[in-house]
Symmetry: C2
Subunit: 735 residues, 2 copies
């Protein structure tokens, strides 16, 4: 309490506006927001959780182009007034014109997701600020949920503010100490980094080593990190910083002043260095702080979805979760190729005749090979088959800033679109389209209508899109306002065509799948492909749910059963840092309406007992229970299928081995279930013995307890099936 | 001859490669090109005309990104070797691997233009250059016509050069003296400048004063000028520097080293500062030098068209010259407005309901007003009516970098597309579509297909497009490679829809209308609109045919009969610096398949005798004779209608009054014609008495001579009709 008092003094004491301090509490009373105007008319907020300060007094504001520079780092709050008066802009000189407090409590149903019903329950404070010297108004809207805070800037229609350019957003998140963070380097072009766990004070030291190579990357600061950022205080409070509803605005990064432990928003710039072009009435995305002293609450939070607009698609009947296999891992590992020929050093799509060149004999997307995957999908109950490398252009598809790189409608000579459509339909399997843009976004938009029409005509109802490499038009980065608008355009256009989108290398999600549930997946993080490019940290998948997944599901493409990539392609010596049981656990832990079984069909044939879990696991859930969680260490989740009512449990384990102790109290009391437990064998090791697993079947009830060890980089998965006939129990022991 | 010898010594003497000097002469022998490799392996050329040097030894080459800097200005030719070896790249280190000489003589027929038959006659030298140290090859292809030189860089398919980035093109045009030039400031975004006539050495002095305001402009050098650049030596030789076939490459400007009088190519950069992204096999556009000691030959040159590819549109029957009026001048003068309402400070196209706002009562594009123009067009035999301001979005259409500024398909509530279509069709009049992009090019491309389909559905077969303001995506300029590709895309897409394009504020034309004759017009210069924005120089239209029109026709929109703009809009005190007779002369002098009568219908009613010439004049020609010409002073042209065989003569006069003395020897011998001569009255003055003109009818034969004065900013026009019945001659005197 002493600490809180001090901060108050620092915060409000120097100014004469203390009467204007606004206080807002969360519905359960655990979170308290204070908002006020500090000296110089600078808006400030702070946040406490269970009477402990979690966000110290932090300034809010925006610098408009032509109205001064961003306030300098290093100026403390008490020195704000001068700076704010000097910069003018929308950083200071404000007074409170109006405040409005309200409450909201509504339950809504997502088209797909972790729960059938989501409660959107918050108390709201809307503060209308006015600058007497400019007459301009700005609204700060705070929504305080039981699990965190969302706030945004709103710019009402007004004569003095019609069009404006945001040169900098100066939203601060002042930390209360040198917290532990799970972070990836701030970057305008990629999120495909392994997470580093460190103290905030150590970010600077570890930054260089954390910036691993990527085909397109632009870092901006030695202390810049990306959101969603997971933090943990020494008091055991978990904080998660991110944003919600990123529409028509650049993606936000966080730049740390590590002398004061203050994060400031850092927006992705356009080629001119400007951040956002705005037209009133308009708003920024929501800035979010999820807070709890229980890490499981971070995973259970629906704050990000709740801060997005309701669904804008009227008829959503065509949006369906999808489990799929694909002609993909064989190219990722280097066993086969996306390209059709090795004879062309470069391709001119408008003049080259691909039917006249010599095939390289390693092309993955041949009609015969695709049929093999269709057969496999049909046999094992998969919904769909993805095929990459089906369309002309892959001979020189990246690294050349090539404008007309793909046309998205012309197959290679050995890929018979119509025959594949017919064959897949006859087997009850859908085909998934692939649109790699190579970052050539104008070219994609020019072809988008035709490409989507091609999909409609050939019965593809989902597309995996990709944005590998630097963006064309040049000077743009993957996460600036212009590109954010592009991703949104592609999703909305797809909805017109009743097409589901799974965009890779696009900006990380911010809950927009509530509004546009045809956005069924994103990559936007380091995916499984890196297991074939040198490997990812074994803790990676026990961090992702705390970071990348806060904004929406990931097409992580799990299911790697053969960790020695050289067994697929002798020339590739990468090792996948995971056990088979870990891979199974992912299907439950990393909920997604789109789940791939990424490995080769022939690999799955070798491990048919483990593969059974992938075949069984559901994609869409009516309930989710977060049983255990610690970032980078372990996550255990139980989920109930929306379709069948069947429960599944998954665990992923990170840097160190973990012993789970879970209770099946989520099961219906009085019923008995057969639990099939897929687990690391005692001698399993993600480096040396990753394929050692056990499958056992036991009987459980809602009172059963499971003690289940998992090795580092390991995990386990459980499927639970209600006993409907006593004969099913024969030979099975109770847990 | 002494001069030539000296230059040879300077050029070739210092190097040991003189055996490799290649000489090429024009078919008529007047032009001689010498090409050789100077010390350091630097390609060089020079050009002489009738044994007089017109281009001194000039280096050729390109700097590739990552391969050194552009050679510094100020280094003379003999110092080249070090620089070239230092920079490497494609600037030096070459040897000649092969040379090929050939001739070409073919006559082709343009779809429309100044002549029915165009002779394409040249001698060609193709030099294959090789860099021993890199193994790379580059071809320099020279085509020498009787009227000038074209040359370009070609990059064959080769292992060592697949994709490359041009950081700078270092093509030199070394002048032989301090010539007189008619120039506008080099600029990445606009050509809408008045021409300055000065010595080369004076460009620097006059630059600042020549850069007048524009909504988008980016100058780059105190001695940077645009092409086509018209020059005149003190010996009376006219030189014209430009380019032909600008496709997939940035527009070229010229930067003058005024200590040595050497122009070097300056390409419009992309947002990263790069110039061009190339993929072999590929070429640059042609660099052109038109040469003559008779200014009329510059106007008569077809070199630019001849260096373009033949027509790529198979069926051109739908491409038709067009004379039109439009709901336009009334907005340009400020009498009426493009916008529908004054109530919105900004428009959100996706949410605002324009049917709910209050009309401002000054909207030009109302159904009733359009019908008035349709009636006028039908009555006076015009083909079409252009209407600007018909579609929603004009309330805040420029200056805001607004992305979604227009949708190109939604009319204002008072513009009834279907009724107008019906009414125009009933009167035999076509409607011309208007697509103002406001520079928001992504938005235009997103809507382009739908916008063209809308045109097809509503019977519009031509579109005036516009690119006012800065380009979105930001960081791009109007003339860089990315934008050049856009303009080309819009034209080719239009051809698919059988739509003719008249693009304003687009890159200046380079003869592409030969290949894509649906590109029936461009603005790309200071057009008539500036007469309502403060006025243009009275000499402007006697410079344009030597500069802007070298690349293709201009939609100059002449026909201003009311020079006091305040008589149209009392608040606008601009004065059009031209006489009525000057305006009539333009229709013949500035040949275009698209000609507007730009003034208001009610103005034309007041001058119906003069208006008769606009009604009569043809748009498409079988023959053109350039009777008199001097840049900025006077141009007199006679042309024969391709349709009717009727001859027309036009004159524009520039800075000073002019007395034409022309002979009608182009007429059929033995025939008598009635000449209707529209001329400045003796007391006409473009400032104080611009509406003073005379119309007289006389009889002429092929032996008649006309002495016709024109005042400064004046001119005259003559229509010639063959006497088919002696009764027609009654009361008419012989000239």
């Amino acid at each position: 309490m002493r600490k809180l008092l001090i901060s108050f003094l620092t915060f409000f004491a120097p100014c004469a506006l203390s009467a204007q301090v606004q206080t807002l509490t969360s519905p359960d009373g655990d979170l308290e927001l204070k908002f006020g105007i500090a000296e110089g008319g600078v808006p400030q907020y702070e946040l406490s959780y269970k009477s402990t300060e979690v966000i110290r007094p932090s300034r809010l504001g925006l610098v408009l182009r032509g109205e001064g520079a961003k306030p300098e780092f290093g100026s403390d709050v008490s020195a704000t007034s001068d700076a704010a008066q000097r910069v003018g802009s929308l950083c200071g000189g404000f007074e409170i014109a109006d405040t409005a407090v309200s409450s909201f409590d509504q339950t809504w149903q997502p088209v797909w997701g972790e729960e059938a019903n989501i409660r959107n329950h918050y108390n709201e404070l809307a503060v209308t600020l006015r600058q007497p010297h400019s007459g301009r108004q700005m609204v700060l809207r705070f929504r305080l949920f039981d699990d965190g805070l969302g706030f945004r800037y709103e710019f009402p229609r007004q004569p003095g503010l019609v069009y404006f350019v945001i040169a900098d957003e100066c939203t601060e998140f002042a930390m209360t100490g040198d917290h532990t963070a799970w972070w990836i380097p701030g970057d305008y072009d990629t999120q495909e980094y392994d997470y580093t766990r460190s103290r905030l004070s150590q970010i600077r030291r570890y930054m260089d080593g954390s910036i691993t190579g990527n085909l397109s990357q632009t870092s901006f600061s030695p202390t810049g990190v990306q959101t969603s950022l997971q933090l943990k205080t020494d008091d055991g409070i978990y904080l998660n910083l991110h944003e919600a509803a990123l529409v028509n605005y650049p993606a936000m990064h966080l730049d740390l002043d590590d002398s004061r432990m203050v994060f400031t928003s850092h927006l992705t710039p356009d080629p001119n260095g400007d951040k956002a072009y705005m037209q009133t009435p308009c708003t920024t995305p929501w800035r979010t702080v999820i807070v709890s002293d229980d890490a499981r609450d971070i995973l259970a939070s629906r704050l990000t979805l709740n801060l997005n607009e309701p669904c804008k698609i009227e008829d959503t009947s065509w949006i369906k979760p999808c489990k799929y296999v694909g002609v993909w891992w064989e190219m990722i590992t280097g066993k086969s190729s996306w390209s059709y020929t090795d004879d062309l050093q470069s391709v001119h799509l408008d003049t080259d005749d691909l039917s006249q060149v010599r095939p390289n004999g390693r092309h993955g997307a041949t009609t015969d090979n695709v049929k093999r995957y269709i057969d496999f999908a049909a046999e094992h109950g998969f919904d769909a088959v993805l095929v990459e490398g089906w369309n002309i252009g892959w001979e020189d598809w990246f690294g050349n800033m090539k404008d007309y790189v793909f046309d998205f409608v012309t197959p290679y000579p050995d890929f018979d679109v119509e025959e594949i459509r017919r064959y897949a339909a006859s087997k009850g399997v859908k085909m998934i389209m692939h649109h790699e843009t190579s970052g050539s976004v104008r070219n994609y938009e020019r072809h988008l209508d035709a490409a989507y029409r091609f999909m409609n005509e050939h019965d593809y109802d989902a597309v995996k899109s990709g944005y590998v490499g630097n963006i064309i038009p040049k000077g743009n980065n993957h996460y600036n306002q212009w590109m954010v608008n592009h991703y949104q355009y592609a999703v909305e256009k797809a909805a017109e065509h009743r097409i589901m989108v799974n965009a890779h290398e696009a900006v990380r999600p911010t809950g927009l799948c509530r509004t546009w549930p045809n956005l069924i997946g994103n990559e936007s993080a380091r995916g499984t492909e890196y297991q074939a490019f040198g490997g990812s940290k074994p803790s990676h998948v026990s961090v992702l749910p705390f970071t990348r997944l806060i904004g929406g599901p990931m097409d992580y493409t799990p299911g790697i059963f053969e960790q020695e990539i050289s067994k697929i392609n002798p020339g590739n010596h990468s090792h996948a840092n995971c056990t088979i049981a870990n891979q199974l656990g992912i299907y439950v832990v990393m909920s997604s309406p789109l789940q791939m079984a990424a490995d080769l069909p022939e690999t799955y044939e070798r491990f048919s007992d483990a593969f059974q879990f992938i075949k069984d696991v559901a994609l869409d859930w009516s309930e989710s229970r977060y049983l255990e969680a610690e970032p980078g260490e372990y996550i255990t989740v139980a989920r109930k299928s929306k379709d069948s009512g069947q429960w599944f449990v998954g665990n992923v384990t990170g840097e160190r081995s973990h012993l789970s102790q879970i209770v099946f109290d989520f099961l219906d009391p009085g019923k008995t279930y057969i639990a099939t437990i897929y687990a690391d064998a005692p001698d399993a090791d993600y480096r040396t013995n990753p394929q050692a697993y056990t499958v056992r079947r036991v009987l459980v009830t809602s009172k059963s307890r499971l003690r289940q060890p998992a090795v580092a980089g390991g995990g386990y998965a459980v499927s639970l099936r209600e006993v409907t006939d006593k004969a099913q129990m024969r030979g099975l022991k109770r847990l």
